[in-house]
């Protein structure tokens, strides 16, 4: 059997994620505007913003090293790679065996390290501050994320996302306590890793609180566009990881082309709900003080561990 259809499906999925990611950001912004009684921006606004940024001429600080100019591309590449690992539309794609959940967490870590290094490159106080805060959040979020994923890995006896999703999608429908703990932990990690309220506020430039924005303060034009786009893909990837782990139904198994329309429909529905939920959370919650972030994330870590232990004790 030739690999061509599977490879085509893989490429289609990656391109789909990259192109659809800003739409998700637009949808979350739109929902949040509705919830906050503002008139909503267009759903396509993120695309226009990206296009505008790409057309501009970047201003680069004197004393920037090559690392500064490479990083946006590396970030974009990392997130694109992540989009290839996560089973968004289908399982059993050819790239899946090359990287498992641990490697997926590794990709996100790689991106984070490069972002933090680039932030420190110019040598302004804000860059260092943002890098330090980002690494603080990262070192707590990463183990919590791994614990969540390990719970799923223990249930399915595999660290391959494809196998995990196939196993979880075929279990009888019931509430599994271990997965419930893991889901809450995962949600907390998602909020922290994607610079959302209550850990960070994507819409602020207030120096006392910003994390992600402080890191990218020196970036402009096409570099900024790539970083923003990468952030959108990251949010999309995290949401689809959550969907794949906790509500995997409807995915095209084994890269089956005939299941594609259903898979796209199911995915869009789930993402629309998840995006609406995210905006609701962001409206209801207030931003935490930075030093409450470790407590928030250690709670996530403990929930992840609890989920794993629950699985060991009650096999559920």
């Amino acid at each position: 059997m030739s690999q061509a259809p599977a490879v085509a499906f893989q490429i289609l999925q990656s391109v789909f994620v990259v192109l659809a990611a800003p739409l998700l950001v637009g949808w979350v912004n739109q929902c949040r505007a509705w919830l906050q009684n503002r008139s909503a921006p267009s759903l396509l606004l993120p695309y226009w913003t990206l296009a505008k940024l790409f057309h501009k001429e970047p201003v680069i600080a004197r004393g920037a090293s090559p690392l500064f100019r490479t990083t946006p591309y590396v970030l974009f590449g990392c997130m694109w790679l992540a989009a290839g690992i996560v089973p968004v539309l289908a399982t059993g794609l050819p790239f899946a065996p090359a990287a498992d959940i641990i490697a997926l967490v590794g990709v996100f870590a790689l991106a984070r390290v490069f972002a933090a290094l680039a932030a420190m490159d110019i040598g302004t106080p804000f860059g260092g501050l943002g890098a330090r805060r980002e690494m603080l959040i990262g070192f707590l979020a990463e183990p919590a994320m791994l614990m969540t994923l390990f719970t799923a890995a223990f249930i399915s006896g595999s660290t391959q996302l494809t196998t995990i999703v196939d196993t979880l999608a075929h279990r009888e429908f019931a509430l599994y306590p271990s997965l419930a703990f893991a889901a809450v932990a995962f949600l907390m990690v998602l909020l922290a890793e994607n610079a959302r309220i209550p850990i960070d506020n994507p819409a602020t430039h207030l120096e006392l609180t910003m994390v992600h924005e402080a890191m990218i303060l020196e970036y402009s034009a096409r570099h900024l566009a790539l970083i923003e786009w990468a952030a959108a893909i990251k949010l999309f990837a995290y949401m689809t990881i959550g969907i794949a782990l906790f509500v995997p139904w409807g995915i095209a198994e084994g890269g089956d082309w005939r299941a594609l329309p259903l898979a796209i429909g199911a995915l869009l529905t789930k993402l629309a709900l998840a995006g609406a939920g995210l905006s609701l959370l962001e409206t209801l919650l207030a931003k935490l003080r930075l030093f409450l972030a470790p407590e928030f994330l250690s709670a996530a870590f403990l929930l992840g561990v609890l989920g794993m232990l629950t699985h060991f004790f009650i096999r559920g």
Binding site: V59, A99, A119, M120, L136, T159, F291, F312
Partner: protein, 677 residues
Amino acid sequence: MNLVHAALSPVGGALVLALCWLAIAGASLVPAKNAAFARRFAFALGAVVSVGLAALGLESVWMPAQMLTLPLGLPDLPFHLRIDPLAGFFLMLLGSVSAGISVYAAGYFREEPSGRLALIACQYHVFLASMAFVLLADDAYLFMVSWETMALASYFLVITDHKQAATRSAGFIYLLIAHLGAIAILLCFGVLDGGRGDYSFDALRAARLQPAWATVAFLLAFFGFGAKAGILPLHAWLPEAHPAAPSPVSALMSGIMIKTAIYGMVRVIFDLIGNVRWEWGLAVVVIGAGTALFGILYALMQHDLKRLLAYSSVENIGIILLGLGMAMVFIGFGHPAAGTLGLIAALYHALNHAVFKSLLFLGAGSILHSSGLRNLNDMGGLIHRMPKTAFYFLIGALAISALPPLNGFVSEWLTFQTALQAPILQNGIVRSLLPLFAATLALAGALTAMCFVKVYGIAFLGQAREPAPPSRLPHAGDAGEMERYGMAWLAAGCFLLGLFPSSFLLILNRVAASLGGHGLSEQALADSGWLWLVPTAAEQASYSPLIFLVVIVAVTLLAFLLVRRFYHGRARLADPWDCGYPEQGPRMQDTADAFGQSIRHVFGPLYRMQRSLPGPDDVAPRYDLRIEDRHWYWLYLPVARAAEFVSSKIALLQQGRISIYLLYSFITLIALLVFVR
């Protein structure tokens, strides 16, 4: 003819090469004008010998064990040499890593005054040769002789700058802990021997011990080798001795010497004692997790670059012990395949750590060499002045942070995969404990990334942080040619070990099989190819760093080309954005201490901190912070005080009058006559 044949076999060849190192050591001392041999040839020849040794080690992994008996040593105790896959693997580690370090050292020591240089070159090669003999030894006697030679040679290297009091005291602490460990190892061999008087490893291997005595032997070996490896709480010498030594020596000690302790643990516990018990494994895992977490948390607090790297070595020893301990747990419960995986993970990490930690120490050495700086708080912007060093250091930093597709990730991945085998264990508590240790490893890994973002960001990026006037920072140049070759060799190693893990998996599988008789499962080996790393079965877990690298490079390039094709590549240079506050200087950047502030906040109780904060109306505010290792206060100082107390009491015996000493002799004689008849 026979002699030539013996010299060509791996064990004879290894012996000849180790003797070559000794010959280089001797030749370095020849009082020629300006120490010509030591300056021009010693290190280069040493590197050639290293490469040969690495090749021999690699060859002997695939061959059955070979032995050689030398007519040297004590009358009834000739020296036994043996090379088996385990020794071969560690010889490969020693040879391949020391090759890079020696090339670097050839450039690094070039401008030393001749007397000092001759001594360094001599001790350096004695050190290398003694490590080779530790790995080749097949009896307790030769092992202890080489072990002690190794400790002494490295001690003299540590106190190269013996005119500074701090260096002398660092050397003393090192020597003290090294000998405590050596005593424990000696006792361990004694327990294993059980009074039969045959100290060859074959005899020790054949001995069947009572479980209680086996546990005593395990504890002695773990303590003894742990002292050299730097496990908690015996790590105190590492952060003192590593910064004191010249950088290539720090690289040798941190990269290779502490791995000989890992070799000793594996040799004694898995090979000589045998019959591993899972309780021992649990002890090793607990200590390993503590060591890993403690090491990296203290590394984050350091601002002396070499001290920081030393603490990070403590962390990595912890990670190796996690793998080793898990292997013991699995083997103890009767799951050799999973145990093999743990052993492979541990040994893989030992090799990886040897490569990237040596690289980082050499990078730190180049910074020290060209700028005279070790304190991170004085550095900054080095990427502009030493771009090549910055590139190699970046590879080392990414590798140690366990980021794919470099080598640190592979061994941590394997350790995670070992922990994920936990469901097959019979004991419910151990089963749920192992994943918790995996969580510790995840935490330590993420903290490592933070630590090396700090190191790289503070030292190489940003702007120079106004160093004190005598500093050479503004005139710092890139590392010299030989130094760069040495670093490039090790950086290539980071890629090689990261991108082709399945080849090394096969080597390590052979090593593990030679120890316990069991290798990985058939399916794992069937599913692995040169492209795929499969520890158990393809549907359970697989990883392909090469595909990973190709895809990430391809999509990054594609993004770059698309942007250039559809938009433009113009850019304008300007001043950094100043947030409306134009008087920004380099001193407003984060310092190394500031970067660790959030960690101090979260893990405060773990540190012994003395802080003085300026008051609100202070005219000359000064913020002062001192962080010390808690172990000094609850362990080392009380022990030192107790030792001092005891010796002051014993000193009462010493009266200095001859009649008193004669009385002692008389009493002793009487006592002997009474009791020993």
